[in-house]
């Protein structure tokens, strides 16, 4: 057994590193750069029932140590994803996590029902945290009751385990996490982007056409680590961590906080080879930290006894 393989609901992964949804399209572009079968999994772009164009441009703006995006869930729609994008990905030996989105509960249910039937889709990622659409998205992610109810509905129709993607734009992330766990979620993915804005001095107007956007990149890493640290101690389902990961060291920090796998978003834009690089570098870091297997690291920052055991070998 490799020191990197992990098992979490629905996902039997050769390694815990995967591109985050929306930062990798449906894999086509990156497949020209490296063999996608190297990846632990792929979180594909959010899919809604109908095709969406998304928001007007500019859709991205740079911030100190981060970026804002307001893509607005542009995607080719359920049908095309199901009959074109997902089958195309079957040529690679890599499990797909399908990110599902919508404006209404019915939207989510429709997408979940169909996508969970795709042979290479091994898990769903319920995106109740997109800050860049007017209806749905984050509305579900900030209200525990709505989040729980939606999780239940999606669980009812899904053929595969359901991970719920949490928004960091909440007063009490643990409350939402517990609610979706009660709703039957098999796992959590966190965090989605923080809501932010930049204003252009010359025009006096927000840089993004959508005005606000989602903040991602290294600047949000401390928020992600804190939330995963808090939530992982309060739920018993696994967490796929994300938010500012740039290196194998960052992946380890997410594990120590409580994550069981890790996703890389923004950094794919800066270094498109980042995922295979991290996968290559992880074993050496594990060795340095005296861990035989990466899963030993999950939650080590709060699992006091295990840590002590490690420090007194």
């Amino acid at each position: 057994m490799s020191s990197l393989s992990i098992q979490i609901p629905g996902l039997n992964l050769r390694n815990p590193v995967m591109p985050a949804s929306g930062c990798f399209g449906f894999g086509k572009e990156f497949s020209q750069l490296y063999d996608l079968s190297l990846l632990g999994a792929i979180m594909v772009k959010a899919t809604t029932p109908e095709p969406r164009f998304g928001n007007p441009t500019p859709r991205v703006a740079e911030t100190p140590g981060g970026m804002l995006n307001a893509i607005g869930l542009q995607n080719p729609g359920l049908e095309k994803v199901f009959i074109e994008e997902l089958p195309w990905l079957e040529q690679f030996d890599v499990p797909i996590i399908a990110n599902i989105a919508g404006s209404t509960e019915d939207d989510y249910v429709a997408v979940a029902e169909q996508l969970s039937q795709a042979p290479n889709v091994k898990a769903l990622e319920l995106n109740i945290s997109c800050p860049n659409v007017k209806t749905g998205g984050i509305a579900f992610g900030t209200d525990p009751d709505l989040a729980k109810a939606l999780t239940k509905k999606v669980k009812n129709v899904s053929e595969v385990p359901v991970y719920v993607k949490l928004s960091p734009n909440v007063s009490d992330i643990v409350k939402i996490a517990r609610a979706v766990e009660e709703g039957g979620a098999d796992g959590l993915t966190m965090i989605n982007t923080l809501l932010g804005m930049r204003i252009d001095l010359t025009t006096g107007q927000p840089i993004l056409a959508n005005k606000t956007g989602g903040l991602s990149g290294p600047s949000i890493k401390p928020v992600a680590i804190r939330m995963i640290y808090e939530v992982s101690q309060q739920v018993s389902i696994p967490i796929i961590g994300m938010g500012g990961i740039q290196s194998a060291e960052d992946v380890v920090e997410f594990f120590l906080a409580g994550a069981s796998a890790a996703a890389v978003g923004t950094q794919n834009f800066i270094d498109p080879f980042v995922c295979p690089k991290i996968i290559e570098e992880l074993p050496e870091i594990l060795q340095r930290l005296g861990a035989d297997h990466i899963s030993e690291l999950t939650g080590r920052s709060w699992k006091k006894n295990e840590r002590l055991a490690y420090h007194r070998p």
């Binding site: 399209g25 772009k45 969406r52 164009f53 500019p58 893509i71 542009q74 923004t266 270094d271």
Partner: protein
């Protein structure tokens, strides 16, 4: 093939007011073909700034594996780029996108190359390749003011060059379109790169039977994966069909996309 490579700085020369010409050496030069393609430049090792900067390829020298980019020092990214000196390395991702279709201009035909400001650079490689193919090249380039003018002489190697400046301090006062309006002939093909208002004027297709435009948009990935840089198609201006400036473009046929 898109490659990522730490390219070595051969030279980094100021050639105009805040305009720099950076010659880089790297193996990925071998993959460069079409003028109008661009590279995605990481100007620092850390996260300040975080994102890459898209810059057009201005000249390709396959023989010595070097290529040239020309950029305006504007914000933090290009300011840091301007500080690089010979021997240092710059992290380059490229070549990216689809450039100008050189083959659309046949031997003996006339091409007008229109460049505005930092839209001028890709015109150099384009002019070179067109001239090699026996196409008559006329360059029409526009700038803010005299001190911002660059590459007039370089373009003159391949054909006539007309210069406009907004303040009239050099060449003709006004915009490139004022020069074009004065031409008493029709070219076979027009290639343009520059600010959006300029492109909109040329997008009308008024200046030649065939027109190609290079667009700009704020980018994330630069390789087609993030959907930051999409534009609507003219056929379906309010629908959900789209083109990505980074990977479908940056060069489009006039009338293809909504500018």
């Amino acid at each position: 093939m898109i490659k990522q490579e730490n390219c070595r700085v051969v030279s980094n020369t100021q050639i105009g007011d805040n305009i720099f010409e950076l010659v880089l050496s790297g193996e990925l030069t071998a993959n460069m073909s079409e003028p109008g393609q661009f590279v995605h430049v990481k100007v620092s090792n850390g996260f300040d700034p975080l994102l890459r900067r898209p810059i057009s390829i201005a000249a390709i020298e396959k023989e010595n594996s070097t290529f040239t980019i020309i950029y305006r020092r504007q914000g933090r990214g290009t300011a840091l780029l301007a500080e690089k000196s010979a021997g240092e390395e710059v992290d380059i991702l490229g070549p990216l996108g689809n450039g100008f279709p050189v083959m659309e201009a046949a031997q003996g035909q006339t091409a007008i190359l229109i460049g505005g400001g930092v839209g001028v650079p890709p015109m150099y490689e384009l002019a070179k390749q067109l001239a090699q193919n026996g196409v008559s090249v006329i360059s029409v380039i526009g700038f803010q003011t005299e001190s911002a003018v660059f590459y007039e002489k370089e373009l003159a190697r391949f054909g006539e060059v007309y210069v406009a400046t907004v303040d009239g301090s050099y060449g003709r006062k006004g915009f490139v379109t004022d020069i074009l309006a004065g031409f008493d002939f029709q070219a076979d093909i027009v290639f343009a790169c520059g600010p959006t208002p300029m492109l909109r004027a040329i997008d009308t297709g008024n200046f030649a039977p065939k027109t190609y435009l290079s667009l700009e948009e704020r980018m994330g990935c630069g390789i087609g994966a993030c959907f930051a840089c999409v534009c609507h198609t003219k056929e379906d201006p309010h629908g959900y069909t789209y083109k990505k400036v980074c990977s479908d473009g940056p060069v489009f046929k006039a009338g293809e996309v909504v500018i």
